[in-house]
């Protein structure tokens, strides 16, 4: 079976230790987590894990089954890239003098649609949200001038189709 990118969405209780339980499921099967994000979800007190893996559909399905089996997991899903709207964010910390010394830097900022978050005497910070390859491109463009710090978030994603989870979660919420 062909490997591809899968976004696994896990709706769960917000409990200490659950991340360990979920990551163990990947560890046991030697599947690398390419990106991980944990946040609140559309329902109050329900957390959402967004996990990206590169794997076969068979494995994605089995992993979702194992995740869903955990007591504090309400529901888990997997989706292909085609089925989701997804983004990542990144921060670039760059030396301030480059803004004046290197003309190209300003062009990169404009072309990449990134925002300047802060400017200090010694450095400024650029924020960029987009697909991973867009962030990679921006990184590659800035790298020759020197990046003082770089960080990228995990993927966040919503599905194009309605999530059947919403109703279930609302029921929980009303209990």
């Amino acid at each position: 079976m062909e490997k591809q990118w899968y976004t696994i969405s896990v709706y769960s209780e917000n409990n200490v230790g659950l991340l360990n339980r979920i990551s163990g499921i990947f560890l046991k099967r030697h599947i690398n987590i390419e990106s991980l994000n944990v946040s609140k979800s559309e329902i109050e007190h329900v957390s959402k894990f967004t996990i990206v893996i590169h794997s076969t559909e068979d494995w994605a399905r089995k992993i979702v089954g194992q995740i869903e089996k955990q007591i504090e997991v309400i529901k888990a899903f997997y989706h292909t890239d085609d089925e989701t709207i997804y983004q990542e964010s990144a921060l670039f910390k760059i030396a301030s003098h480059l803004l004046f010394d290197e003309r190209q830097i300003q062009n990169i900022i404009k072309e990449s649609n990134s925002q300047i978050v802060t400017v200090a005497r010694d450095f400024f910070v650029l924020a960029k949200t987009g697909r991973r390859h867009e962030i990679d491109e921006m990184h590659d463009a800035l790298e020759p001038y020197g990046i003082m710090q770089f960080v990228r978030t995990g993927r966040i994603a919503v599905t194009k189709a309605t999530m059947p989870i919403t109703e279930i979660l609302e029921e929980f919420h009303n209990q």
């Binding site: 769960s12 209780e13 917000n14 409990n15 200490v16 230790g17 360990n20 339980r21 163990g24 046991k28 007190h45 399905r61 089995k62 089954g65 194992q66 869903e68 089996k69 007591i71 504090e72 997991v73 309400i74 929980f172 209990q175």
Partner: protein
């Protein structure tokens, strides 16, 4: 509170009492119907032991000689009684010694609650004396675990622990309780847990799937049932028997399914898997419909998946959705509790006989009998065989004993030849293959069914892994019957070395102590058999004994267990020699 149990409103009428966390733990156990626990005290659990002392008229604590023994005893108790087994230990090494038992209970779906003490809340993370992250360590081998750091959490967490351990597909739960939470007081009210909102233990049966299954079964020419422990855990023995008899379907079992159906039932065709029976394995690849009930297609059952039952339509009755299409794809999956789903299936299947198909099992049995079974249970060669010992136990106990086995050759021989009339009679470590399981598990099994005969059958290797539990048998006069089949080898590993590693017996030869003397040291009645002529008398004496009894049988040193599906081979390629 971070746990989300399904409760609309707290029971406000119940009066609370002001007690310590340690005392609350005892009240929780009593409220869950626990009257027996196994464990080992230590610093971080001492407040609870102090309460156990005060409550000893209501709650018996059995001091095992090692925490691992406590878990296996709790498992043995759970497996025969159907109740939740409870084990208790202190923090640090006490807690880590529970891990093997937790892993065993997890893979064999045994309901168990383990309670561990933990260093006080303010010392967590400081590498305090006997501090270990048991919640982190036990996560992959528990159905659920939780660290309690406040006394007020105790009732709800304990209720949740028991509910999770016993509901749905059962499993082990560990509750780690810091020492301050044991000392501190709380307003105690106990309410049983009836649901956890994020956890769905049993799916409602899908009638459409059951109808589709019935249709396929009714059209089948060569239907074949393979059942597992799900039948026992789901109390579906009667439904299984009714289905098998009505539809005339031959039924085979996995190691953990053994005893769910009378071994002498004409439609019970035997064991599947690596050392299972010839017909049940070979005919897996000839049936047209394979009906799997409460089993999970373990690799020891299926052999090479690429050549497993490819010709058959597969119907999978299973409680755990994660097991569906995990190893073998199901044409029809029926989720739910086996008692319920089989009950719904029963009226939809037609009466049938499948005589020609059954005759194929008989033919295969005859082949196996002539080449393997006869030599095993009625040997004519000089050395004693494990099979003839099991046969003697069958005769002496009238097929009524609970048989507890360890892991290895003796286990496979016992599963192949032990006869059972009653469910919950076969206690063994199936999935994990834990050597050292049998002796403590037999203690638990006996205490879980005092009215029944309990015979532990153990190899000389596994026996020495938990031999110290003889101390429990002696101290509490637990009348278990212990049979060590001594071949002075780690027999199963030696067999593999002989067959697949050109007889290089690396570290499988054992120089053993005098086992009879050891048992005598614990004041347990003992006997050694080295000759066939003594066997029957010794086994009869053992079964007749009202007290614990130890029997060592010196068996042939280099016997092999056959049939055998070599690792990674197809069920069709099972070897008879």
């Amino acid at each position: 509170m971070s746990t989300e149990t399904l409760k609309k409103e707290k029971n406000k009428t119940a009066k609370s009492i002001r007690i310590s966390g340690a005392e609350a733990i005892i009240h929780c156990l009593l409220a869950e119907g626990v009257d027996l626990i196994y464990g080992y005290p230590g610093g971080a659990i001492m407040p609870v032991y102090d309460e156990l002392y005060k409550f000893q008229d209501k709650l018996t604590h059995i001091l095992t000689r090692h925490e691992q023994g406590a878990t296996h005893a709790a498992q043995g108790y759970a497996r025969v009684s159907g109740k939740v087994g409870v084990a208790m230990a202190t923090s640090g090494p006490g807690a880590t010694n529970l891990v093997t038992g937790l892993a065993d209970a997890q893979i064999d779906s045994t309901p168990m609650v383990c309670i561990t003490g933990q260093v006080p809340r303010h010392l967590l993370g400081s590498d305090a004396f006997q501090e270990t992250d048991i919640v982190g360590i036990s996560t992959p081998v528990t159905k659920w675990n939780y660290q309690v750091t406040k006394a007020s959490e105790i009732p709800e967490i304990m209720a949740k622990a028991f509910y999770i351990a016993r509901s749905g597909r059962p499993g082990p739960v560990l509750v780690d309780i810091t020492k301050n939470a044991q000392f501190d007081e709380l307003d105690f009210v106990y309410e049983k847990c009836t649901g956890v909102r994020s956890y769905k233990p049993v799916h409602k049966p899908d009638i459409k799937a059951i109808e589709a299954a019935a249709e396929i079964i009714n059209r089948a020419k060569k239907p074949y049932i393979v059942f597992g422990q799900g039948v026992i855990l789901g109390h579906a023995e009667e439904e299984l028997k009714a289905l098998v008899e009505k539809a005339g379907i031959p039924a085979a079992w996995t190691v953990l399914g053994l005893s769910a159906m009378d071994t002498d039932h004409p439609l019970n065709v035997g064991m599947v898997g690596m050392h299972g029976n010839y017909g049940p394995n070979v005919l897996t690849n000839e049936c047209d419909v394979l009906i799997a009930i409460g089993m999970r297609f373990d690799d020891r059952v299926t052999g090479n998946l690429d050549t497993y039952a490819k010709q058959a339509k597969v119907i999978h009755f299973e409680i755990d959705p994660a097991e569906i299409n995990k190893n073998v794809n199901a044409d029809i999956a029926v989720l739910g509790d086996a008692k319920q789903t089989l009950g719904l299936l029963l009226p939809l299947v037609n009466k049938n006989e499948h005589k020609d198909w059954l005759a194929e099992f008989d033919k295969k049995y005859q082949i196996e009998y002539d080449t393997v079974i006869k030599k095993d249970i009625e040997p004519t060669k000089e050395g004693l065989t494990m099979g003839e010992v099991i046969e003697q136990i069958n005769k002496a106990s009238g097929h009524k004993a609970v048989v507890v086995t360890d892991v290895g050759q003796h286990q496979m021989i016992a599963c192949r030849y032990a006869k059972f009339k009653q469910s919950k009679s076969n206690v063994t470590s199936g999935g994990l293959g834990t050597m050292g399981f049998a002796l403590p598990a037999a203690i638990g099994a006996k205490m879980g069914a005092m009215e029944r005969e309990v015979v532990a059958i153990i190899g000389d290797g596994g026996y020495q892994m938990t031999i110290q539990e003889l101390g429990v048998i002696f101290q509490h006069n637990v009348p278990v019957k212990i049979v060590v089949l001594n071949n002075d080898h780690l027999g199963m590993v030696r067999q593999w070395q002989e067959l697949f590693f050109e007889s290089r017996y690396a570290s499988t030869v054992m120089t053993n102590p005098d086992f009879v003397k050891i048992a005598e040291g614990y004041h347990i009645k003992s006997r050694r058999v080295t000759e066939r002529s003594d066997l029957q008398d010794a086994v009869e004496e053992m079964i007749a004994s009202k007290d614990p009894y130890f029997l060592e049988v010196r068996v042939e040193k280099e016997d092999n267990v056959f049939p055998m599906i070599p690792s990674g081979a197809s069920v069709s390629d099972i070897r008879l020699k």
